[in-house]
């Protein structure tokens, strides 16, 4: 076997030599799937764009795995005692990839003009919380808030608020600016080439402001659409890093056990996604709390975690992930108990109406999960029919409330005020957004608690309010929480310091190096 491999290599001597030469500089091959539509991170925030562009662009802050703010483009910061004024001091000598200096004007332009117009998560923060953003001097920025908003300090990572070059975008139509295809950031890597359908090639930014970084010369992000083929590509050495979700969960154990392969579930602290089934509360049996409680008892969530996800993740107790701040375990707990489920369902007066369960079109594992949940529900006499759709169909059906139940997962984004409340507050009931309050849950007490907790500076008071919200929500079950997802990144062990931040691979290549 080995012999024939070498024989073949010898026959293709020229090709083989070229290959070895390229490997001599440090090169890393990473899977990217699906191929991102765009790398301009201000305009596109889908997962693959973030994974790559977080190494091209930078935010004011980075976060360690405990979600504590770390210097990035901001070297240091001060927060006034009343919690209303934030002053950021910028790094010196930072240059955009085109050689122009990065200054406080760029920060003001990014936060106050560019992202305010185009970034769906930044916009509500500027519109509702921020009174002004101004450049004090070329290296100092001052942000003044309308009211205290503690979560601001967790909202400044590269995907939530990337810094955009003012000299390229000012006065242009942001979405059609031709520069969108040649992203210019301040980050450790520059875009060298993008061969559509094949790979994205990043090279080291030799003028990077942090001396001695980055250490890896080139990164190739390879587009490989099929999960089984990705696993083979890692095993045969074509690929060095498999970001979370690249391979079938059953392959995670097998691939991590290969010689020279390592696995980590770190690097997802910022996202800490919780998967759930959103429920359309507007009409029918699902509008009844008792019925939903019955469903929660009927779904074998441990089976989901142990079998479907092959042991990855944890069964959640409520809306706030146990890995993030303000989590409170003292809530209503739902065990897997089909008998109790039948009882509650009978009590609710359910008459066998068909309930449509919309699958999430993100690959085999979500299909298996939907099948398992449907079987659980059929077992207690709930008539469930699966609906499948592609990404576009799922987005539209979920955004336009055209579902009875739909799978979804949402990032927690470091603070309940940013990542959690959006799914439960009544002000976020609006068509067009699959990550809003799609089920139509409305409870004035919950609205008030979330609002008060967000505007409160005292952590203990915030905790009390979030604890109360968690109790109410676990009783009323506006969504059925299934899993606190754990996301495995598989990589070659000779790549060091790849995952050191709360967003992992997404900005990990700044500090990574290869032995």
């Amino acid at each position: 076997m080995k012999l024939s491999r070498y024989a073949f290599a010898a026959a293709l001597c020229a090709a083989a030599m070229g290959f070895t030469a390229a490997k001599a500089e440090s090169v890393v091959h990473v899977v990217i799937e699906p191929e991102p539509p765009l790398l301009m991170q201000g305009l596109a925030q889908n997962a693959p764009t973030n994974t790559i562009a977080g190494n091209i662009y930078e935010g004011l802050l980075r976060y360690n795995q405990k979600l504590e703010p770390q210097p990035s483009l901001a070297k240091s910061w001060e927060i006034s005692d009343d919690g209303l004024t934030y002053v950021f001091h910028l790094q010196e000598g930072v240059k955009w990839h085109d050689g122009q200096p990065f200054t406080a004007d760029d920060v003001v332009f990014s936060l106050d003009v560019f992202l305010r117009e185009v970034h769906p998560r930044w916009r509500p923060i500027t519109d509702n919380q921020i009174a002004s953003v101004e450049a004090v001097d070329p290296l100092t920025v001052r942000i003044v808030l309308k009211q205290p908003f503690g979560p601001l300090m967790t909202a400044l990572e590269v995907a939530s608020a990337p810094m955009i070059p003012k000299h390229i975008y000012e006065g242009t139509d942001f979405r059609t600016n031709p520069a969108n295809n040649t992203p210019i950031g301040t980050g450790p890597y520059k875009l060298q080439e993008w061969k559509k359908g094949s790979y994205i090639h990043l090279v080291r930014n030799t003028d990077y402001w942090l001396a001695g970084h980055p250490k890896i010369d080139e990164i190739y992000w390879q587009v490989i659409p099929d999960a089984a083929a990705r696993a083979v590509a890692f095993e045969t050495g074509t690929i060095d890093v498999l970001p979370a979700g690249s391979v079938d969960v059953y392959d995670v154990a097998r691939l991590s056990a290969l010689e020279g392969a390592c696995m980590t579930t770190g690097g997802w602290e910022m996202a800490s996604p919780i998967a759930w089934i959103a429920v359309n509360l507007r009409e029918g049996p699902l509008s009844d709390k008792t019925f939903r409680q019955g469903l929660m008892h009927a779904i074998d969530r441990n089976f989901g975690q142990e079998v479907v996800w092959n042991g990855l993740g944890r069964v959640p107790t409520g809306p706030i992930a146990s890995t993030t701040r303000f989590y409170d375990p003292a809530v209503n707990i739902y065990d897997f108990d089909p008998d109790k489920a039948r009882e509650l369902i009978a009590q609710s007066g359910y008459k066998g109406e068909t309930i449509r369960l919309l699958k999430l079109p993100y690959g085999e594992i979500w299909d298996r999960w939907a099948e398992a949940v449907r079987q659980n529900l059929l077992d207690v006499g709930v008539n469930v029919e699966l609906v499948s759709s592609d990404t576009a169909g799922w987005t539209q059906k979920t955004s336009d409330w055209d579902f009875d139940m739909t799978f979804n997962f949402l990032y927690q984004l470091g603070d309940p005020a940013i990542g959690v409340s959006r799914s439960y507050v009544s002000s976020n009931i609006a068509k067009g957004n699959p990550f809003g309050n799609v089920g139509g849950y409305s409870n004035p007490a919950v609205d008030a608690l979330f609002a008060a907790a967000s505007a409160e500076a005292d952590e203990a008071v915030r905790q009390a309010k979030y604890s109360e919200v968690q109790k109410i929500l676990t009783d009323e079950l506006p969504v059925l929480w299934l899993l606190e997802m754990e996301q495995p990144t598989i990589y070659r062990c000779d790549i060091k310091d790849l995952v050191t931040t709360a967003i992992g691979v997404n900005d990990g290549f700044r500090d990574a190096w290869r032995e």
Partner: protein, 279 residues
């Protein structure tokens, strides 16, 4: 009829094909008796190898569902999709071809342009788009497969009708003033049945394969366990749990093979003159 059976039975491959087909149909019909439980229900621990546990000759899949149960129930779904979508294709293709062949002239020209039109659009791509648009459900899958597979039928029937039309007995019927529909239905179509059955048997196999491809791309009906679904769902486990996709793969292979063998045998038996001739 007797002569036909004799000729058919002289072809051993065709007989084997027929036997396999009968078995598959029997499994499909008897599925609820053999495996009364839903094939979706997890019944054992996951990834159980074949024969590792009594009663699970084909093992279990990623969720601990019985592969054998899935295979038997899948026979129903796959055959249903194969047969119904073929009927859809025939319902479009036969009348179109017959009208084109019988009428000739501009009608023929127009209908054949229309057929060409459908042959020009890449058919698999068209099927994908149709299923995605109509949402993946049994109905849309059958319709999409039917819509992309009728053109060869139309061409075949047109050719047959064209040659039959010039035969003496048809000419005689025209002379004695029989109505056109009557001539088509009583004189012409019955004589085209043989090639239609042959092409139909081949199309059932193609349809089963097409459904499996759609399923692989995530465009199968999520509520129905077809063989295509099983192969697609098990494909990432080929290395460590080969049985999950191997058995349904073999089932597809055997069925398509049987349909082809039987179809060819049928062809030879129905056309003794052109024995072992055209496809």
């Amino acid at each position: 009829m007797i002569a036909f059976l004799k000729r058919f039975s002289r072809n051993p491959a065709a007989v084997v094909g027929l036997v396999i087909l009968v078995l598959v149909v029997a499994f499909a019909i008897l599925a609820p008796l053999l495996y009364p439980n839903s094939p979706w229900k997890p019944v054992q621990r996951p990834f159980l190898a074949p024969f590792a546990q009594a009663g699970f000759p084909m093992g279990t899949d990623t969720l601990g569902r019985d592969v054998a149960a899935g295979l038997v129930h899948g026979a129903r779904v796959s055959l249903q999709i194969g047969v119904v979508s073929t009927i859809v294709a025939l319902l479009i293709g036969v009348p179109l071809g017959a009208i084109a062949g019988y009428s000739g002239g501009w009608v023929d020209d127009l209908l054949m342009r229309f057929t060409e039109f459908f042959q020009t659009i890449p058919s698999f791509a068209l099927a994908i788009v149709m299923v995605a648009i109509l949402q993946p459900q049994l109905g849309s899958i059958i319709l999409a497969i039917g819509v992309v597979s009728w053109p060869p039928v139309a061409r075949l029937v047109r050719g047959e009708v064209l040659s039959l039309r010039s035969r003496e007995y048809v000419q005689a019927a025209i002379t004695i003033g029989q109505s056109t529909p009557r001539i088509i239905f009583s004189q012409i179509l019955p004589n085209t049945i043989a090639p239609i059955i042959v092409i139909g048997s081949l199309m059932v196999g193609t349809a089963i394969l097409l459904e499996s491809s759609l399923s692989f791309l995530g465009l199968g009906d999520p509520n129905l366990m077809s063989w295509g679904y099983m192969v697609g769902a098990g494909r990432t486990r080929l290395l460590d749990s080969w049985w999950i996709s191997f058995f349904p793969g073999i089932a597809i292979f055997l069925t398509v093979l049987a349909l082809n063998l039987a179809g060819e045998g049928l062809n030879d038996a129905l056309n003794p003159r052109l024995s072992r001739g055209r496809k």
